[in-house]
């Protein structure tokens, strides 16, 4: 077998010219080319990147050992929560939950139609699809904290800003996850509906929506889990909820009360995650 024949099977890159492909020959004379692995090259690049990052950030493992005692000291206080502080946690905790629920509901409601418009298998207009996707990508580049900060500046401090920030964040994430799921649905039933005389809306509604709905609800629940966690932090920038209390307690060096706040948050987050996971399992 001449090598001219086998070399046209793939495009020869610069790498292949330096590290020549291995030619495996069978006893009967048939040959096949095996390209040299790129793995050593990638490993080398990763090692260089990590070393560079360590140098840049001034990361020093001995610092962790030296400050270990201080960390333990702080942890000890956090794990001895001051339960007399608990009544002051309840109200902001409820605020946080309310913010997350309302923000998630609003964000998800807007996400459904937008995700449908951003799915290339449903919306055949490539221009509209790319416009929506660009907008969604834009929204997703903004961290929730930044959105909350901007909202706090626009709508004044408080839970309303937090709710808007969560809604915007939810909208960006759920739309993205949803249009990716919509693009994997089976379009066969849609074709069947068109073949039996349904118009586009009827076909979409009867054949696609039953497939989309469970996935949509599952994404909404997952986003709600994320939002509970995220919303606790939003108070930091004045968007209401538990974050304000956390910030305040750290400021007062009141670590025992901070422990109360964090443990209450932990219980709520764990419960909601457990419940949401159970529901999502039912949906799939």
């Amino acid at each position: 077998m001449d090598n001219e024949n086998t070399s046209v099977l793939y495009k020869e890159t610069f790498y292949d010219k330096i590290f020549k492909p291995e030619i495996v020959t069978l006893p009967n004379g048939h040959t096949v080319r095996r390209r040299r692995s790129r793995t050593p090259f990638i490993v080398l690049a990763l090692v260089i990147a990590i070393l560079w990052a360590v140098k840049m950030t001034g990361f020093d493992p001995s610092e962790i050992v030296r400050r270990f005692a201080k960390m333990m000291d702080l942890m000890k206080k956090i794990f001895q929560p001051d339960w007399s502080f608990f009544p002051k946690v309840v109200s902001p905790l409820l605020d946080t939950i309310k913010m997350s629920i309302l923000g998630t509901v609003i964000g998800c409601a807007v996400a459904l139609p937008v995700a449908i418009l951003a799915s290339s298998n449903i919306n055949r207009n490539a221009i509209i699809v790319s416009i929506f996707r660009f907008l969604l990508a834009l929204i997703r580049t903004l961290p929730t904290l930044v959105i909350a900060l901007v909202c706090a500046l626009i709508f004044s401090l408080g839970t309303f800003s937090g709710t808007v920030a969560i809604a915007i964040f939810t909208f960006g994430v759920v739309s993205k996850m949803l249009y990716e799921s919509i693009e994997t649905i089976d379009m066969g039933p849609f074709e069947a509906m068109e073949a039996l005389g349904a118009n586009k809306f009827q076909a979409f509604w009867s054949a696609c929506v039953p497939q989309i709905l469970p996935v949509y609800l599952s994404h909404c629940l997952y986003c709600f889990e994320m939002n509970i966690r995220a919303s606790a932090i939003l108070g930091y920038v004045g968007a209401g909820g538990l974050g304000i209390t956390i910030n305040e307690r750290i400021g007062w060096r009141d670590y025992n009360s901070l422990g109360t706040v964090l443990l209450s948050l932990f219980v709520v987050v764990a419960f909601i995650e457990f419940f949401s996971e159970y529901l999502r399992k039912k949906l799939s």
């Binding site: 066969g188 039933p189 074709e191 073949a195 039996l196 349904a198």
Partner: protein, 254 residues
């Protein structure tokens, strides 16, 4: 009656799938279309319900010129033409009866479609359709829990539920095992006989075509090379349809 007169079909990519097709199929006939993959079997079926447009010639069904139908007229015409697919095309997360009920959707008003409200009569009729193909007991089972043969029967029930005059079946048994394939073919025979519905089906398995269908149409590279009663086709004619290669069969014992 379905009538093709000098029909040509060229796809946008320039591939000519049908060349000068002339064909007459009377109401109530049971026709198998055989040929290699890419010979144009699917294209013939999909031209009849206008899932594809023809490029040249005339295609009439009961006197209606199919290629001039637009919008609402086309959808009303499609109500009378059922279609069965190789991959069943059911909403697999929904129950069998829900899938059968979708056949009524084109006749319903917007709000009823939106909220999925079906009348008692519609539900009874859907159950009767399932009963006609012998899977009434699976009516409230989700389709992803059903076997391939059962799913194809649900699809058949959905088609019967639209009360068609013609059923087009595109490789209806290609993804079924040999035993189930025979059962589904027998369903087709029964439906053809009992309800006088014309059935056109594409099939790879020549033995099944010869055993169950009345008439066989052989297509090679977009042209009809055989058209006649299943009982008269000879081995040479089958070989001609398949370019001289061995014709595919189910190959299992009776």
């Amino acid at each position: 009656m379905i009538e093709f007169k000098n029909v040509y079909k060229t796809y946008p990519n320039g591939f000519t799938a049908l060349k000068n097709i002339n064909l007459q199929i009377e109401q109530g006939e049971f026709v198998a279309i055989i040929g290699l993959s890419g010979a144009g079997k699917s294209t013939i079926l999909r031209c009849i319900n206008r899932m594809h447009d023809i490029t040249k010639g005339e295609l009439t069904v009961d006197g209606t010129d199919v290629n001039t139908l637009r919008g609402r007229e086309l959808r009303r015409y499609r109500r009378k033409v059922g279609m069965i697919f190789q991959s069943f095309n059911l909403v697999s997360r929904s129950t069998a009866i829900k899938n059968v009920l979708t056949a009524d959707v084109p006749d319903m008003n917007f709000l009823r479609v939106l909220f999925g409200i079906f009348t008692k009569e519609q539900k009874m009729r859907a159950l009767e359709s399932l009963d006609k193909v012998g899977i009434l007991d699976k009516a409230y089972t989700r389709c992803d829990q059903l076997s391939g043969g059962q799913q194809q029967r649900v699809a058949l029930a959905r088609t019967l539920n639209q009360n068609p005059k013609i059923i087009l079946a595109d490789e209806p048994v290609a993804s079924l095992d040999p035993i189930t394939a025979k059962q589904v073919m027998e369903d087709f025979v029964r439906i053809n006989r009992d309800y006088k519905i014309s059935i056109l089906l594409n099939i790879h398995h020549v033995d099944l075509a010869l055993k169950y269908c009345d008439r066989v149409i052989g297509i090679r590279a977009g042209e009809i090379v055989f058209d006649g009663p299943a009982s008269t086709i000879t081995q040479e004619q089958i070989d001609e349809v398949y370019n001289g290669t061995k014709a595919p069969t189910m190959g299992d014992g009776e």
